[in-house]
């Protein structure tokens, strides 16, 4: 991976880069368990649940309860995806195609997304303040450009904690396609730890007892009895966390919800909406996880830091993203889940409208993200980068997107948690902003 001078990330290998970009990605879940403050016995961090959050619902009357975040690490070009400039000097070779939304064109590499466009809002004037990969990825995922403490929650942890259904037995937070475990859920307790699926054909290893359910039940009873005495003499944080982990483990072992990972059980009509590659199949799993109520699902695919050969690289890589993302939106819409499920897609920042000597595009402070469902008004291109992609009207920021997500989910961004003695707002100061009303129902 050659990095030219404009790329300020150190010249590390791909794997290193990915591990940085994954920080904070994908935590998930949970439910608005009652009294999480009281529940958690740890001494170093305590989430706060002050006022009851303002009940905010979408105009459609439904609140978003699942967020699916598709992260494209390295930052893909907007020109070859959501903001084509056909025939312009900087436009590359991608043609623009019409979409289901009148007057909106996107790149020809995204035919499935084009079909779904009446559900999708494009943010074509995203203004990115951070132009280095790791800082930008952190900002998008944990709402801080630099993580000053360990234990800062990412967006997923917060959404999961605030929106998770009480009866969910799967992990509250699930990520797929990531190379490294995502961020920490420390302030919210171990049950909010992000769960990374390494292999979708065995999504939860060791979830069967080696001795069969009956015998397992008997020895588990002995275990409870044995723990009861010993634990009652030891009230410190770690003990309660281990106990909770065992409760969750038992739930996962017996829940029928685990079938969500089995895409073979999905209706043929829905399956046909997705591609066959790994990313599309992960999107199909995400669809099924949303169906059982998992509140936050993080997906990641590709590598998009195309300082060289962006023009050909995008032609090769975008169709896979399109099949997954487009398929996901179409499937959610078909089954009525899209009203309460938000899908968001993007990378760290945009790429230069101009093409460099290596047919690549460098880091750029403007680019496109897209959102669909969960109270988003589809068929909109919000913001405008002008005919050459060099001007930007109706700018939006990463902070605005955070506030939009919180607003759609009915989460009060002013709520906070305490990590290592410091109070951190759900929407930290690095993600100041306001909900983007223009794309909300």
């Amino acid at each position: 991976m050659a990095c030219n001078n404009r790329c300020i990330v150190p010249a590390v290998g791909r794997r290193d880069f990915l591990s940085f970009s994954m920080i904070g990605m994908g935590a998930l879940a949970g439910s608005a368990l009652p009294a999480l403050g009281q529940d958690y016995k740890g001494t170093q961090t305590t989430p706060q649940t002050p006022a009851e959050p303002k009940k905010e619902t979408t105009k459609a009357g439904k609140k978003c309860n699942t967020v699916i975040r598709i992260w494209l690490p390295g930052a893909p070009s907007q020109v070859e995806t959501f903001d084509p400039k056909p025939g312009r000097p900087n436009g590359g070779k991608a043609k623009a195609i019409d979409t289901a939304a009148k007057g909106i064109q996107i790149s020809e590499y995204m035919p499935q997304t084009a079909k779904a466009m009446k559900h999708v809002a494009l943010l074509r004037s995203m203004n990115f303040k951070e132009l280095a990969h790791e800082r930008a990825a952190l900002l998008a995922q944990i709402g801080m450009a630099q993580s000053p403490f360990s234990g800062v929650a990412d967006m997923g942890t917060i959404v999961a904690y605030e929106r998770g259904p009480k009866d969910l037995q799967l992990p509250y937070s699930i990520s797929m396609g990531a190379t490294l475990q995502p961020g920490q859920s420390l302030p919210f307790g171990g049950e909010y730890a992000p769960y990374r699926v390494l292999n979708t054909s065995n999504p939860i290893p060791d979830s069967r007892s080696p001795v069969g359910a009956d015998r397992d039940l008997q020895r588990t009873a002995l275990l409870s009895e044995q723990n009861k005495d010993w634990d009652s003499q030891r009230q410190q944080g770690p003990i309660g966390q281990i106990e909770k982990a065992y409760v969750k483990a038992q739930e996962v072992m017996t829940t029928p919800q685990v079938a969500a990972f089995n895409v073979g059980q999905e209706d043929a009509a829905i399956r046909a909406m997705f591609g066959n590659d790994g990313f599309s199949q992960n999107c199909l799993v995400a669809y099924r996880l949303a169906k059982v109520g998992v509140p936050f699902i993080a997906l990641q695919t590709g590598f998009w830091d195309m300082h060289d050969a962006c023009i050909t690289g995008m032609e090769k890589q975008v169709p896979s993203v399109d099949a997954g993302f487009g398929g996901l939106v179409n499937a959610l819409a078909a089954s009525g889940l899209l009203d309460t499920t938000l899908v968001m897609i993007g990378g760290e920042f945009g790429r230069t409208p101009s093409v460099n000597g290596g047919q690549g595009r460098d880091h750029h402070e403007y680019g496109s993200w897209a959102m669909a469902g969960g109270g988003i008004r589809g068929g909109i291109a919000f913001g405008d980068s002008g005919v050459n992609g060099t001007s930007n009207k109706d700018q939006t920021t990463v902070g605005d997107v955070w506030h939009t997500v919180f607003s759609l989910c009915g989460i009060d961004p002013k709520k906070s948690y305490i990590v290592e003695g410091r109070r951190i707002a759900y929407a930290y100061k690095d993600v100041k902003g306001a909900p983007i009303r223009g794309i909300m129902l």
Binding site: I8, P10, A11, V12, R15, D16, S19, M22, T43, Q44, A132, E134, R135, Q146, P148, F149, S150, G151, P171, Q181, Q184, L186, G189, G190, A193, P194, Y195, R196, L198, I204, P205, D206, S209, P210, V211, R215, Q218, R219, L222, L223, Q226, D229, W230, S232, Q233, R234, Q235, Q236, G237, P238, I239, Q241, I242, E243, A245, Y246, K248, A249, M253, E420
Partner: protein
């Protein structure tokens, strides 16, 4: 009666000056450090009644997990319990600290603090090197740390000093890795990363906060930060199959975001004209600053208690009141007084009643208190070795094996700051509960359990797995279960003990 014994001992000594008096009657007195720790801790019990000092088994398990990363075997527990030597605890502590395993674990704890998940170090932190050179540089560094710790080299003069001054080629100076790691540090360049790391790792100060704004809780401002960064302005590294780290002499200041900074230590010292910058800085950090001893003592404390007196350990600032009043001062003074002997610090802490207190206590401890032992989650190495040893196997020093097996259970941290362990999670619980390999190990562990009666066997099982004897109620509970489950009862009992919170925590 205790007075009587002491009196008798003194009297005997007075009379003969020989060793005629039986040694086991007289416990060695506490060292000044140990006494000071205990007397300081006395004021920080909260409202709880202090637990007694732990029994032999609980103590041995704790001190072995902490010092060498694995629990005692069945034989070791039995031998230790049977030993009538009154100084057996302090002798055990000495023996553990003298072992290679202590040096190995401690070297790797330092590396975790400095490099994050150090197993990834060959990949993550030395971007300019090819992969062979990365592994070599990393391995050299860990071996070097291990050697220094093993021979109890003064931490300031022989470790920190060498790290700051390191230069030369990768096949030469083994201490180079730490500075090389600054070249991986992200977007701002190595000098910025150097200032961040040197202040956090050796002084326990998050000076980096001052990079963007004046430190919110302290006196540091941007000038302090960039002047520290300036010390690195002459350092250059080249890579490839070998690496060279050197200082150039044609640079007079660090130019950064519009400013122009001369090197100056945060406590005020500056190199004179012609003084080599790195050598000057090494002197300021290791000899002139009291903060090195304070921060180092706090870090070692956190390894033994699971939490620093100042926590996080790299966050000393004026808004932080260290826990337990003068405790941090007691430790730092002793570390300095012992010529920065890490071993003496371990010895002093581990011999204290404060460290050795039983974990059991009915009080609900929502705040740190010295009324009972502090409970920690097992780290990856401790968990894997606990499973191995509890089932009759030998603890492994093969780090890669440990990583491969258990790293998926520990959500990784990419570390900007000190690692904070994650709470126990469902994935770990599933692994210990259901993993087939562990099921197999239980069968082989069971093969080693002997005893004339079922109650004897239950006792052996407790000793093997949780390093203590069962209470009468526990014996009854397990005997009843085993009798009621012919065939699988013993195996289930073993499995049960290996899934208790007692087994899964260091307490």
């Amino acid at each position: 009666m205790r007075h009587g014994i002491i009196f008798a001992a003194l009297f005997a000594l007075f009379l003969s000056g020989t060793s005629a008096f039986p040694a086991q009657q007289q416990k060695k007195p506490k060292s000044p450090l140990t006494s000071a720790i205990d007397s300081t801790a006395g004021g920080f019990m909260g409202s709880a009644k202090a637990s007694p000092v732990a029994e032999d088994g609980e103590f041995l398990r704790r001190v072995m997990l902490d010092l060498v990363g694995y629990p005692p075997s069945l034989e070791e527990v039995k031998a230790f319990m049977a030993d009538t030597n009154v100084d057996k605890r302090s002798e055990m502590i000495d023996k553990l600290i003298a072992s290679e395993d202590w040096a190995d674990r401690t070297a790797r704890l330092f590396c975790e603090g400095w490099f994050g998940n150090y197993h990834e170090v060959p990949i993550m932190i030395t971007p300019m090197l090819d992969s062979g050179a990365k592994s070599r540089v990393m391995n050299d560094f860990v071996s070097w740390m291990k050697l220094k710790l093993n021979k109890d080299a003064p931490y300031n003069k022989e470790i920190v000093d060498a790290i700051i001054k390191a230069r030369g080629t990768g096949t030469g100076d083994p201490a180079m890795l730490w500075k090389l790691a600054c070249f991986s540090g992200g977007d701002d360049g190595p000098a910025i990363e150097f200032a961040n790391r040197i202040s956090r790792h050796f002084l326990g100060i998050r000076l980096r906060c001052a990079q963007c704004h004046d430190h919110p809780f302290d006196v540091w401002n941007q000038g302090h930060f960039y002047k520290m960064a300036a010390f690195f302005g002459r350092t250059r590294a080249s890579g490839g199959t070998d690496v060279e780290l050197k200082e150039v002499d044609d640079v007079e200041s660090l130019k950064y975001s519009g400013g122009n900074y001369q090197p100056q230590f945060i406590m005020g010292q500056k190199p004179g004209k012609g003084d080599p910058w790195m050598d000057s800085l090494a002197l300021y950090v290791t000899m002139d600053s009291p903060q090195l001893a304070t921060a180092t003592a706090n870090r070692v404390w956190s390894w033994l208690f699971g939490r620093g007196l100042v926590h996080p350990v790299d966050d000393f600032n004026r808004a932080q009141t260290p826990f337990a009043g003068g405790m941090i001062g007691v430790l730092a003074k002793e570390l300095k007084g012992s010529k920065y002997s890490i071993k003496a610090l371990y010895r002093g802490i581990c011999n204290s009643d404060t460290y050795q207190r039983a974990s059991g206590n009915e009080a609900k401890m929502t705040k740190p208190s010295f009324a009972a032992s502090w409970i920690k989650h097992l780290d990856a190495e401790q968990l894997l070795n606990s499973i191995t040893v509890a089932t009759g196997g030998k603890p492994t020093r093969d780090v890669n094996q440990a990583i491969g097996l258990v790293s998926p259970l520990f959500p990784a941290d990419v570390v900007w700051c000190e690692v904070t362990p994650l709470p126990g999670n469902m994935r770990q619980a599933l692994f210990v509960r259901n993993n087939n390999m562990i099921q197999g190990q239980i069968s082989s562990g069971l093969g080693k359990i002997q005893g004339a009666t079922l109650a004897d066997k239950v006792t052996e099982m407790f000793l093997a797995v949780v390093s203590r004897k069962p209470t009468a109620a526990e014996t009854e509970r397990f005997v009843k279960y085993i009798n009621g489950h012919q065939g699988a009862g013993m195996e289930d009992a073993y499995w049960t003990l290996m899934n208790t919170t007692e087994f899964l925590s260091r307490h």
